[in-house]
Symmetry: C2
Subunit: 388 residues, 2 copies
């Protein structure tokens, strides 16, 4: 823990089967008008919508409907949500869904009382909110983004071909989140796999940076091992509660700031994946999967001791009689085999990208320098082409 | 994560060299009268007292002195602290010290406005506070108890020969804690070792329970591995900042409720150690060290798979061609070697206990049933005798 930092995560979590009943404890803390945020409407088929509406009505709330949040929430949808909140004097934004709904709710929360266009302020100029923030609550139906316990909110601008994440401070984090692993049972396997890889990638992005001996890296390895074990159990039996609950919990802790404390972080896989996502509108976790191995194989020589440690600690690779480079590549191969067993996208072409997009995706990639190698634009183009 | 649970930890942490400067950010949130709680006065020698007093004065606070908190805070001292707080209309209890000062501050916090004797209410009847709670802040000078980010408060009653911990809810947790690893540099090695073992024992107590595959156990292993590595580095060079910072951080996360989430826990080593502590007044971490191996060797056959996992995952014991019992004992031997290298007490006799105390210590031991074997009183006596 060489770096100085502060840690404060005020989100209250209710975890387990039937946790939705705790809405009765939380809802009375907020005013009458609740903006009910959800996605394509699958929650109307599996009964979650009815449970939440029943809880809202039991607490005497006015429900303001805000459905149709898309997998990569757009700036147009954001402006629409802000308009709904303003017109109805909303007191609480209740997101029922996965990371998209929760991200969207947070983006709305800082924009309702903001005097200007949120895209310009928060996503192009990366400013912080000075206005009143509408509180956010979350009922999670998908594990992956960790949005239920952090301040992150990714918004996509198709016109500008930009998908940008702003990580807001603790005052924007959800006040409470309901995590019921059984809510994730009915998710199609492909979406489950994408969520699992999103979790794994969040951990990798924070792990593959820095050379110090840091407690955060030990915790990162623990979360990786737990999600690998549980992902295999859940692929075999999607209703394995133990596995689904571990996946849901690792998702939360993979991205609630803990494992980044006192260390530098990378985040280039997300920058590459998000840029590709703005071009293809593919599922977030799949774009990350498609660019990960080309990226990690490219930077591996620059962070060899960490990649060797990753191989040994996370994948159980034996180090006996091998060079660090051999150990590291064995680890990446083990990771590749695991990714294939989950049915993840192993290339951007599978997701609809074409080689002629490479330059454009590179231009849309925000270049960060926390990883083992600060990339040039040419290197970015090269990695994107290797990901095709 | 088979069990249902809620998670909420509102304590704000400021971590790193010079973190005391963040008092300037926190103090203005509270009223004028601050009860300054500390121990034997070593903070007056190393400059920490001066830094804190300067910060308090800069914020225009009235300082109400409350020094002399002993290593195992007594019920008499608690009553004295409550009296000081009442007489001075205290707005904030600021503990500057280790776990004892912080535990004591929390015990005072729930007792100032409580209509009856706190020992009876909170420690004999284990009731929860219904009264107003005075906020607590903490400037940590010793790593070990985790008291800086939890609701625990252990108080000793010598007349009744009882040392009892009450874990209060999140409203009693410190509002903020300042964690500067350099504050721990000047601690004598024996006290450092006791703190390190306290951390390790907190993790073990939550780990050695349950048979499910639980993310919390993976995190527990990570914390154990990090503290083992850093303890050896810190014993070699007490001013190794990296090691001391990892130790300080693992201490916080070992006992802030995270690694107990969704699982059962044991806590018998603490029950045994605290009972022995009430008889000997020995350092907390040392009493835990003295009873640990006799206890773990006794229950090992009842939780063999977990002890074998502990040996392999935490101590790197190879499993090839061995029975689980052999693997488990190899792990406990590795733990024993590590404990000896830290100079920990390996028996209660070293701490002043005598065999004639065994029955009394057993009577003072609260018997819990979350571990791999619910012990009878006879078994407790046997383990205490083996610890002599």
């Amino acid at each position: 823990m060489l770096g100085n930092f502060s840690y404060h995560n005020p989100t209250k979590l209710y975890f387990g089967k039937g946790a939705v009943s705790y809405l009765a404890e939380e809802l009375p803390k907020y005013g009458k008008n609740v903006q009910l945020i959800y996605g394509s409407g699958s929650i109307k088929k599996n009964g979650i919508y009815d449970s939440v509406v029943a809880a809202l009505k039991a607490c005497g709330k006015n429900i303001v409907e805000d459905g149709g949040v898309m997998p990569n929430p757009t700036v147009e949808k954001l402006r629409e949500g802000v308009d709904i909140a303003r017109r109805n004097g909303v007191d609480l934004l209740l997101a029922v869904g996965g990371g998209s709904c929760c991200d969207y709710a947070k983006a709305v929360s800082v924009s309702v009382h903001c005097g200007e266009d949120p895209w310009d302020k928060y996503y192009l100029r990366f400013e912080e909110p000075e206005c009143e923030i509408v509180p956010v609550g979350c009922v999670l139906t998908m594990a992956g983004t960790g949005s239920e316990m952090n301040g992150g909110a990714v918004i996509t601008n198709h016109a500008q071909k930009l998908k940008i994440g702003h990580v807001f401070g603790d005052e924007v984090m959800p006040k409470f989140s309901i995590l019921d692993p059984t809510y994730t049972f009915s998710l199609p396997k492909r979406q489950m796999a994408a969520g699992i890889y999103d979790i794994f990638s969040h951990i990798c992005e924070q792990y593959f940076s820095g050379e110090d001996d840091n407690t955060s890296d030990y915790i990162a390895e623990a979360l990786m091992k737990s999600v690998i074990k549980s992902s295999l159990d859940a692929m075999e039996d999607p209703e394995n509660y133990e596995a689904r609950s571990n996946i849901m919990w690792t998702a939360t802790w993979a991205l609630n700031t803990l494992i980044a404390k006192g260390k530098t972080t990378d985040w280039m896989v997300h920058m590459l994946g998000q840029a590709a996502g703005a071009y293809t509108d593919a599922t977030h976790g799949m774009t990350l999967a498609a660019v990960s191995l080309p990226y990690y194989r490219y930077i591996c020589p620059y962070g060899l001791p960490k990649f060797a440690r990753f191989a040994k600690e996370v994948w159980g690779v034996s180090g006996a009689g091998k060079t660090d480079a051999q150990i590291a590549e064995e680890g990446l191969r083990a990771m590749e085999n695991w990714m294939r067993s989950l049915g993840l996208a192993m290339s951007l072409s599978e997701l609809g990208a074409t080689v002629d997009m490479a330059e454009g995706i590179a231009d849309a990639t925000l270049i960060l320098d926390g990883g083992y190698k600060a990339l040039t634009r040419d290197e970015i183009v090269q990695i994107i082409k290797q990901s095709m």
